[in-house]
Every structure is written in structure tokens, then in C-alpha cells.
């Protein structure tokens, strides 16, 4: 078999394919570049907290005991929200958060896999037994936001939702213990 030069049209097709490969490579690099750039400049990252917790005892003591659930303002002014996701409700059903401040949301479950999102925000995570799911965000506008379970968890899944009340700083007032509850309306 002798080596013969490829016909002109085959060389042209190869050239087109190489050009296309280059163009797609540039696009993929640009999209990855945007993701890396926003991660480095405005700190947008996928939630990647890996923290273990015993699902059998999490409600008995520690940070997910009943008296510690809800919104807490620490001595340093940091806002932390602790919520238990269980069949078929979030505890507490309503959480109060301030607008314009960094809020750390921590979730755990004693039973099955749940998931949640907060409408109008980028908060979106799964809650897996044995792990603490942590997401931090800054709420940019006041109002009531829906927080439904988005991971099918059983027959009552569709009834499992909570309310996130985003309050202006003037209404976000912690009590003596640093705790904030939803405003009564």
C-alpha cells in the first residue's frame, strides 16, 4: 500500500474539524474561566462542607438540640441558622434572617435524605443523614421566601416546606440570648 496525498476535499474537512475543535475548546475554557473567576473574586462556590454528625443522637445534645435550633447571632455578630430536616417538616418552620449580612445556614437530618432550596436565592443543597450541610449566603432583599424540600423523602414530601423571613436590619433584633424569631404578623 502506497502513501498517497489525501484528496483536497478531505483536507478541507479535516481543517474544518480542527477549527471547530479549537472553537469549542475556547468556549469550554471561557466558561470554566468565568466559573473560576467568580469563585475567586466574589466567592461563589458549590457548597462543599464535609462534617459528620450522628443522626441517631443529633436531637439529644449539641448544636441541633431543640433549644439551639433557629437563628442565633454570635458574640462576633455572625448569624447562624440551624435547622433539622425531618419527615415531613423543617424544624423550625420559620427562620428569620437579616438582609445584607452574611448568614451561615446549617442543616442536619435524623432520618432520610432531604434537600432544600430557598426561592430567589442560590441556596440549594441536599441534607444527608450522617452529615451537616452548610451553606452561607447574603440575602439581598427583604420578604418571605419559600424553602421547600426538593428531594423526595416519603408520602408527606409535598407538605415539607418552611418559610424564610428576610428582615431589614432595623427589625432584626436578637434577644438577650442572641436568638431571633420570625416576626409575628
Amino acid at each position: 500500500m502506497t502513501d498517497q496525498p489525501a484528496p483536497t476535499h478531505e483536507r478541507r474537512i479535516l481543517g474544518t474539524e480542527l477549527l471547530w475543535t479549537f472553537g469549542v475548546g475556547v468556549l469550554v475554557a471561557a466558561i470554566l474561566g468565568i466559573i473560576v473567576f467568580t469563585a475567586l473574586t466574589i466567592d461563589i462556590n458549590p457548597p462543599s462542607n464535609v462534617e459528620h454528625i450522628d443522626p441517631k443522637t443529633l436531637h439529644l445534645s449539641g448544636e441541633f438540640a431543640e433549644q439551639n435550633l433557629g437563628t442565633t447571632v454570635g458574640a462576633d455578630g455572625g448569624v447562624t441558622v440551624r435547622v433539622i430536616a425531618t419527615q415531613f417538616m423543617f424544624v423550625p418552620r420559620c427562620i428569620a434572617v437579616p438582609r445584607g449580612r452574611l448568614v451561615t445556614l446549617r442543616f442536619a437530618t435524623p432520618d432520610v435524605v432531604h434537600g432544600l432550596l430557598i426561592t430567589g436565592t442560590n441556596v440549594n443543597t441536599m441534607v444527608v443523614p450522617g452529615f451537616v450541610s452548610q451553606v452561607y449566603t447574603t440575602f439581598t432583599r427583604t420578604g418571605d421566601l419559600l424553602m421547600p424540600c426538593h428531594e423526595y423523602c416519603g408520602l408527606g414530601h409535598s407538605d415539607m416546606w418552611a418559610n424564610v423571613q428576610v428582615l431589614p436590619d432595623s427589625e432584626f433584633k436578637p434577644d438577650r440570648d442572641g436568638r431571633v424569631s420570625c416576626a409575628q404578623r
Binding site: L19, I42, N122, V123, V135
Partner: protein
């Protein structure tokens, strides 16, 4: 063994391949990749525009998350 009593596909002129004119083929092959590239390029461009629109107009205004 060739069965002479069986119909052949070559009996119908529409089933027989045309003679290939190399010059005409080369002429077609100059245009076909361009059309394919324009079609695929338009589809990919629409996809990228949609991605950028959602990313810049919806995702980023919703605030940082991590």
C-alpha cells in the same frame, strides 16, 4: 450460484448509484462543511448566549453562595 429467476435491485434505475463525477464531488464538498459549520455554530452560539444570560442576569444577582 446466481438465481436468474430472482429480481435484482439493479433492475430499477432509481436503485442504482449514479456515476460519481469527481469534479462535481469536489465542488459540493467545498460548500457542505461550511453549511454544517454555520448550522452547528449557530446552535452552539444560541446555547452559549442562553448560558451567559442566565449566569449574568439571574445567577449572579442572587448573591454569593458557598
Amino acid at each position: 450460484m446466481i438465481a436468474t429467476d430472482q429480481p435484482s435491485a439493479a433492475d430499477a434505475p432509481s436503485e442504482v448509484a449514479d456515476e460519481v463525477d469527481e469534479a462535481a464531488l469536489a465542488q459540493v464538498m467545498r460548500v457542505v462543511p461550511l453549511g454544517a459549520a454555520v448550522l452547528a455554530g449557530t446552535a452552539v452560539a444560541l446555547l452559549v448566549i442562553g448560558y451567559l444570560a442566565i449566569y449574568l442576569l439571574i445567577f449572579l444577582p442572587r448573591g454569593a453562595v458557598g
